[in-house]
């Protein structure tokens, strides 16, 4: 797991190469004069705006609100999705009852619900967080359900032969045994939650949030702020994918040999 330093750097460089290329393309496009400078600001202007937004604390607060909603939604989604997915996979009756419902609700784009959620829960925090929760719940249910069905039956047999009851089988065999899928579910749920939160913030307009920043900036045709906010959204997503989820995988399923480590 401890790759030699040169490999780590090579991977960072390779990863960075794509981003650097995109940045150069943007810069060329911005300076080409196809659009006015006001609409396609060059990199330096975005960086200056981003810096000032961070320096005055507003972007940090906005990002914190957005992230909080995502994490809260993800948490609630896991609390609902993991047990429900497990019950559906283990008990026929649960599966018959819930699966059609899940299958119907899952493909509905979360944002299609936002106007209704606003009507039901009003504009602001509650509607936004509920939208995020909704978006994140289905990947959790679906992946846990799949994960449980992928659990090697011999583990359950072995556990049963050692005297495990239903409860112990759930907690000590089925749950860890479906971890690779549950973590993938978390990843997908995070991605969906992240998309949903920005959209919900645009539409349900709570006071704070990165989506709100973009929405407000539109009113003033402030493309620099809008792009700075996009940079923040991308960076936070990358941070979670690279740091949180990869770490989580490394210390669980990769360590247990249930998932190959990511290629350097």
């Amino acid at each position: 797991m401890n790759a030699p330093r040169s490999y780590v750097w090579r991977s960072v460089w390779r990863g960075a190469a794509g981003i650097v290329t995109a940045v150069i393309l943007w810069e060329t496009f911005a300076r080409s004069g196809i659009f006015s400078r006001a609409l396609t600001p060059e990199l330096k202007a975005i960086a200056v705006t981003l810096y000032s937004l961070i320096a005055d604390g507003s972007m940090v607060k906005n990002a914190a609100f957005t992230l909080w909603r995502v994490l809260l939604g993800l948490f609630v989604a896991s609390v609902i999705g993991v047990p429900l997915g497990m019950l559906m996979a283990r008990y026929r009756a649960w599966e018959r009852f819930w699966l059609p419902l899940v299958s119907v609700l899952m493909p509905i784009p979360t944002l299609a619900w936002v106007p209704l959620f606003i009507l039901w829960f009003g504009i602001g925090d509650l509607a936004t967080t509920l939208v995020v929760t909704y978006a994140a719940t289905f990947p959790m249910i679906y992946n846990t359900w799949t994960g449980v069905r992928s659990v090697n039956p011999i583990w359950v047999r072995a556990a049963v032969s050692m005297g495990a009851g239903q409860h112990a089988i759930f907690r000590k065999v089925v749950f860890p045994g479906s971890m690779p899928y549950i973590i993938t579910g978390l990843r997908l749920a995070f991605g969906r939650a992240w998309i949903a939160v920005i959209g919900a913030e645009l539409l349900a307009s709570p006071t704070w949030g990165v989506g709100r920043v973009i929405f407000d900036a539109k009113e003033f045709l402030d493309s620099e702020v809008m792009l700075a906010a996009l940079v923040v959204i991308g960076a936070m997503g990358l941070l979670f994918e690279r740091v949180v989820f990869q770490k989580l995988e490394r210390y669980t399923v990769t360590r247990w040999g249930m998932l190959a480590p990511p290629r350097v």
């Binding site: 011999i154 047999r157 050692m162 495990a164 112990a168 040999g257 249930m258």
Partner: protein, 249 residues
Amino acid sequence: MDQTIQVRSITFEYESDKGRVLAVENVSFDVADGEFLCILGPSGCGKTTILNMLAGFLTPTRGEILIGGRPVAGRGQDRGVVFQDFAQLFPWRTARRNVEFGLEMRGVADAERRETALKFLRLVKLEKFAESYPHELSGGMQQRVAIARALAYNPAVLLMDEPFAALDAMTRDEMQKQLTEIWQATKKTVVYITHNVAEAVYLADQILVLAAHPGTVKARLRFDLQRPRDPLSAEFVAAQRELLGHLQH
């Protein structure tokens, strides 16, 4: 603890799309306390079905199984099971915590659990790998952990379903030697399924030869060879020949 097994004319039938299939018909045998029984037969003779009935994974259609004088009702900690598949260990638990599982189910306290697990890992010569995860161990080592795990909660009998069949020949020889030592050290009653004649002669006190379709008992043999057994000795080879004769007719 009474560690005897009595199997009284068990039959196992199941429903398939081709109608009722008779997998095992009227099989009876006894295993004495501390005895090593091998069930030998070609594939399709129902030997795994018999083991699954002993383990309580399947219920005989007719007949009765007594372990320690009591009828088998479902699954229980009076039996330890070792499967053929290396994947039987829990990949998310270290070797030690795999061995602790049965004790955990019984509610044994942390420290005692740990101590017992280490004792059994020592018995299978894997105390150095106590904190390794299964995927870091070789196939033979994984099977030894599985044996330690099945013994750790002190079941009356150990049921083994071709545990070494997927190992290479050299490792298998070593494992058979170690299993004999473990069995002598723990004095457990063992039922061991195999389709390998030499393995049966090497391990068993009593050998049950089965015929296939349906599984019925064809012969019951005992070879009183001194342990550790020498597979190159004249008695060993003679025993193998006799056993092979029973299998082929």
